[in-house]
Symmetry: C2
Subunit: 322 residues, 2 copies
């Protein structure tokens, strides 16, 4: 196992067998059902310190997972409990009880939803759109990577809240997927200039930009922003594997249009997850918002699933069933 | 007279004689004392629409000026009144009363202060720092163009409010000027990498960046921002005469550091000028904040004064005495 230079490859990963530790006092034995792969993990593969520490070489990749308790030596957990944790890419784990969170009881929801629309990507979309970008009914919202886990949640939340939504995605199939989520317009960033396609899709301009990619998308958003537009920056996947500087021709419009741009992280909002479960649980239960996943099978396919995030093989949330 | 391509030159301007109109009902005849030249005027020299309309060819350049009423056909003004207006580059003007604002009565203040520390640049600094950037006592503030009209006001306001201040300027003389304003550190952007000099000047990082220039300064601020830093964008003089895109290597830190960046304009705050006159008037009266000007003489020197803004011939506010 090794740190990648630029875009990671399968060679950076290895599948290893470990013996599970003893189920000592306070420990819980979990059998995973689904693993999450997320773009932010790319940052943790670098040596450099960021908002979370780098992954250790020769240790399992950490990350979101959901599983079932099969044995418990902790008072709060019993076999059969559905639990969410961050112990990542493995089929089974023995973990301290405090590392586990019981899945909220929301009717009609499959377990994997807690890694997607009702998990970190959904909450990132929810708080990013409604809090960081202060989006409200009537706003014209532009969201990039709209076919991805976070973006597809943003599209659906924005529609549930009465906004007009333009989503960008790569290729006609993904654009069709974005429209199927309820977006008013989907633009294909691989087809022509984003400046032109965004102007055509939102001739009056945009009030909100939810940024998952940075680069040319962000510049097009600067170019099309209306007065007092708000931008929420959630990720810049365009730059994760690159050392080239990002170029912006239109950033100067931040002044004339009094744009507010704000970086945020899911972690800023964990104390407010109750609001999220309440609203999103309701929307999922009444069918206004749907869980949308791309699922790959088998622990050994996890690196491929992860690498697919950077070439865009997923629509909706990318998951691995173990 | 003509529109500039890139950096303006003296050839874009002409000095012309006009016959003043009749002093009809509601009109006031003003003899100007000082004219203001400001970087934002460069934008109005382009054909393109921005937040204010372009200048008309063969009409006087509009802009801030202060003068004395010499004749009045309007009830609210009498000869001798000190008045501020936006009729710009001319020695005398006949203007409607509603285009004039009486200078506030603040003791010990020279007239030209109302074009600088107690005028648009001072108010831009005041509201940009305290409102747009939400700076507060204890913050570490970085300000670019710190020897300019707005920047020199930012330095002094920040010190009056108990902040630590790092100002950047071009060359050792201007850096000395910035230190004379009270800045804790002055860095010379013409001498070495801003990334390095800013790290040395603010080893703990920065909480606030007041941006007057964009470009490499803004990128260095991204690189050095601490958690929850706030950036106020007031101008990007680096880009006014250029068509090249701005390059940023560190904009991705907006996410990890949860930076908020906000564009603003003086015009957003005119309804709150009372707060500004109250605080700044007090600081000027008690000597904590000083008016700092570079004055050129004669109406004919106005284009040279204006062009000097882009080569940095001024320290503090650039003015023309007519």
């Amino acid at each position: 196992m090794s740190r990648p230079e630029g875009t990671p490859t399968a060679d950076n990963f290895a599948l290893k067998e470990y013996t599970l530790p003893q189920l000592t006092d306070g420990m819980v034995h979990v059998r995973n059902l689904f693993l999450s792969v997320d773009p932010y993990m790319r940052g943790r593969m670098n040596e450099a310190k960021s908002y979370i520490p780098p992954f250790a070489i020769d240790a399992p990749m950490e990350g979101g997972a959901i599983g079932t308790v099969i044995e418990s030596n902790a008072p709060d957990f019993v076999p059969g409990d559905l639990v969410i944790h961050m112990a990542g890419w493995r089929d089974e784990a023995v973990l301290p009880a405090k590392a586990l969170q019981k899945a909220p009881n929301i009717s009609g929801v499959e377990p994997q939803a807690f890694l997607g629309i009702l998990g970190m990507p959904g909450a990132t979309a929810y708080f990013g759109l409604l809090d960081a970008a202060e989006a409200k009914g009537g706003d014209i919202v532009f969201v990039s990577a709209a076919a991805g886990a976070v973006g597809s949640s943003v599209v659906q939340i924005a529609k549930a809240k009465g906004m007009t939504v333009v989503g960008s995605a790569g290729g006609p199939d993904k654009c069709e997927f974005v429209r199927s989520l309820g977006a008013d317009q989907a633009i294909d960033y691989k087809s022509g200039s984003l400046l032109v396609t965004l102007r055509e899709a939102a001739p009056e301009g945009i009030d909100v930009y939810f940024d998952n990619v940075g680069g040319a998308h962000l510049d097009a958003a600067f170019a099309r922003a209306r007065l007092h537009a708000r931008f929420a920056l959630c990720g810049m996947i365009d730059g994760y594997n690159s050392r080239e500087p990002a170029q912006f021709r239109y950033i100067i419009r931040m002044i004339a249009m009094r744009i507010t741009m704000r970086g945020f992280l899911y972690g800023d909002y964990v104390s407010r997850l109750g609001e999220f479960y309440r609203d999103m649980g309701q929307w999922v239960s009444d069918g206004r918002v749907k869980s949308r996943d791309t699922v790959m099978d088998g622990l050994e396919s996890t690196p491929e699933a992860f690498l697919g995030l950077f070439t865009g093989t997923n629509t909706g949330k990318m998951l691995v069933r173990v």
